[in-house]
């Protein structure tokens, strides 16, 4: 039982990281109708910026907190310099331009931080374990990721459902032209939303850094999963992104924790270990295909 709980928490922790990435992606896609492949680059930049600031301030929390406004400004800069020119273009142009941005950011990191990866240490405050239930230990840092992720999710829910900005975001997701016609400053709204997305991506990147590593292209793999999540959840829907991220997180952990042992009962260990992640990856795509057949706009997508 304890074991099951810990593995489920691992799934929740992974799901929340992916939710942070997917939230920004689904907002930009839903509201601005912008396919932003470079969202993974913002995740990477968040981690590198945090690495630098943590080194300068000699404190994880301070460095991480300072990294957030910097990623926000970076997001705004990217929006003003590049994205703004792409809104009126079709999706293929956006894919090409943002793919170019991925290459640009990867080379930028190589030039500024060098080709070798960096590592961020888990802060001393969180490098122990917490007893979540009597006798059940869980790494404090991972627990902190869950807490921060959950707080951000609540904050986003509040922002979208209860504030004027959220109302505009929801309105933008259902009908962009209409809110423009009603006199809303679309340019400012878009910049803000993009910057917000960048902050969440950067936060996911810097929180993931101590449990993986800070390296060039670190956002590229997780971006694909984030795209799948927003398609499952429904483009433009924060709630959808949250639900889909949780489901995908659990599928991933099943594929890593339970499936290999099951497969080992009738396969060689090495073969079972290769097959299990492949099967869980396939499951994610099967889920996406199933959702698209059942509800073509995703679980919580706007139906036009």
């Amino acid at each position: 039982m304890d074991y099951l709980l810990i593995q489920m928490l691992n799934g929740v922790q992974l799901g929340l990281l992916m939710f942070l990435l997917a939230a920004g992606l689904t907002l930009t896609f839903g509201i601005m109708d912008l396919v932003n492949l470079a969202h993974g680059s913002l995740y990477m930049m968040g981690a590198y910026i945090a690495w630098t600031l943590i080194g300068l301030t000699d404190s994880f929390v301070l460095g991480a907190l300072l990294a957030l406004p910097v990623t926000f400004l970076l997001g705004i800069a990217v929006e003003v310099v590049v994205m703004r020119r792409l809104y009126a273009r079709d999706h293929l142009d956006q894919v090409l331009a943002t793919f170019g941005l991925i290459l640009f950011f990867n080379e930028l990191v190589r030039a500024v931080w060098g080709p070798a990866g960096k590592s961020i240490a888990v802060p001393a405050l969180l490098s122990h374990t917490v007893e979540i239930l009597p006798g059940v230990l869980y790494p404090a840092y991972r627990f902190a990721i869950i807490v921060v992720g959950a707080l951000v999710a609540l904050f986003l829910a509040w922002l979208v459902a209860r504030t004027r900005l959220g109302m505009l975001i929801r309105a933008g997701a259902s009908n962009r032209r209409m809110i423009g016609a009603l006199g809303v400053n679309i340019e400012l709204l878009f910049s803000l939303v993009f910057g917000l997305g960048a902050v969440f991506a950067g936060l996911a990147g810097l929180m993931a850094a101590p449990i993986s590593s800070v390296k060039i292209g670190m956002g590229d793999d997780i971006l694909i999963l984030a795209l799948v999540i927003i398609v499952i959840g429904g483009i433009g829907s924060i709630k959808g992104a949250f639900v889909a991220a949780m489901v995908v997180g659990q599928i991933d952990i099943v594929g890593r924790a339970f499936l290999p042992d099951f497969l080992k009962t009738f396969m060689a260990p090495a073969a079972a270990s290769s097959a299990a992640p492949a099967i869980s990856q396939v499951l994610v795509y099967v889920l996406m295909a199933g959702v698209l057949v059942w509800r073509p706009t995703g679980l919580f997508g706007q139906r036009n």
Partner: protein, 395 residues
């Protein structure tokens, strides 16, 4: 002013280039290609190897067999296909006399035939030792200055028997070397294997799922093989999960001079097996470690020591043949003698051209200056042969 594409200067330049490339055998230097990982998260290993190769060059006075030699470094970027392409370039374009290096078994396996068969060039592996090349794929043009993958974990297994560790949980990456390493420890370890997990290589750096399984299984020890950046992550997460207080970690290639600066105190007291340790008491090793430390302010690793040995092995053949490497049969015959001062002490080559050598148990400790390092605490096995040499058709 417009520049004509084929102006007189261009033609002159082309002509000079053409003349320059005419073979001038007497003065032409010996060329050595060196393939390793110089970019990405594992670049620290390649850098340690490069430093050791440069130190070997310095100790040789830049000459082998009376001729100057040059080293051409190529970056495999940690990918088999890139490693193969870079090896091909060294053989076909640079026409090197030897190729050394190769950290990764999968990169070596991808590159082997291109170098040894199509290129008829002698390859000295300074690290990777996949079981296939020790057995049925053994090759007259292949020499190792490291070990066969199974051997180091086999030595660890022997030691765990004497230490009385009753049960073991095995974790390693799912690629050629990972499979060999876990197979190796199972060859000698007599206790219970609780479970064995293979993780996705090289993508997986988050070991939360595996550590949770280990915590639930409550083994007497964990055995891991996670080189470089992966070893850093595993040790950190092992400590964060609290398992460092209950389940000791036994390792091969996961806690070393490359990873210790980042693992720090978390690694203190962990045991591992290795064929070379920085405190082995022979003269050449003392000189190598001292010079390396003086230059770079860090300890060298076995990756570096094996690379140093690879260059010294090539030099021993070139010296014996007075720099004439044209007859490959003679070069191979000289190399087979292993007639050089290896940093691990003298060794002999087996029929498959892998070393017959000792393996030691090392502990992670702090040196007098407070720097993390490893020191020898026991000899695990003596004059060990790998378990595949009888499958090699070469006799």
């Amino acid at each position: 002013m417009k520049t004509k594409l084929f102006g007189p200067t261009t033609i002159a330049a082309l002509a000079t280039l053409g003349l320059g490339s005419l073979p001038v055998m007497a003065q032409s230097p010996i060329k050595i290609g060196f393939v390793s990982t110089f970019s990405g998260p594992q670049a620290a290993i390649g850098e340690d190897m490069r430093r050791s190769v440069e130190l070997a060059k310095e100790h040789l006075g830049g000459k082998m067999g009376g001729k100057p030699f040059e080293i051409i470094y190529e970056d495999d970027t940690f990918k088999p296909d890139v490693g193969k392409a870079r090896s091909e370039k060294l053989v076909l374009q640079d026409k090197v006399d030897f190729i050394g290096g190769y950290i990764w078994s999968n990169v070596l396996l991808a590159s082997l035939k291109t170098v040894t068969d199509e290129g008829n060039t002698i390859l000295v592996s300074a690290n990777a030792g996949p079981s296939q090349i020790a057995g049925e794929l053994c090759n007259k043009n292949f020499f190792s200055t490291s070990w066969q993958n199974d051997q180091t974990p086999m030595a660890m297994g022997e030691y765990l028997n004497t230490k009385g560790v009753k049960s073991l949980y095995l974790v390693g990456p799912n690629y050629a070397a990972g499979k060999d390493m876990l197979a190796g420890v199972k060859r000698t370890y007599k206790g219970t294997i609780v479970n064995e997990d293979f993780t996705k290589w090289p993508d997986q750096l988050d070991f939360s799922a595996e550590l949770a399984k280990i915590a639930a299984a409550k083994p007497d020890g964990i055995f891991i093989f996670y080189p470089g950046a992966h070893g850093v992550q595993f040790v950190k997460q092992w400590a964060q999960s609290g398992l460092n207080k209950t389940v000791p970690l036994y390792q091969v290639f996961s806690i070393d001079a490359i990873t210790l600066p980042q693992q720090g105190d978390l690694a203190l007291g962990t045991l591992g097996a290795q064929e070379w340790v920085n405190d082995l008491p022979n003269e050449q090793n003392k000189r190598y470690v001292a010079d390396f430390k003086k230059k770079h302010n860090v300890y060298p690793s076995y990756y570096g020591a094996q690379s140093y040995d690879a260059i010294m092995l090539m030099a021993s053949a070139a010296d014996a043949l007075k720099g004439d490497l044209s007859n490959k049969d003679k070069v191979r015959a000289e190399m087979k003698k292993a007639n050089f001062k290896s940093l691990r002490g003298d060794f002999k080559y087996n029929t498959n051209q892998f070393p017959i050598q000792n393996f030691y148990i090392q502990e992670a400790v702090k040196d007098a200056g407070g720097m993390m390092t490893v020191k020898t605490i026991a000899t695990a096995v003596k004059d060990a042969k790998d378990p595949y040499y009888e499958k090699c058709p070469m006799k």
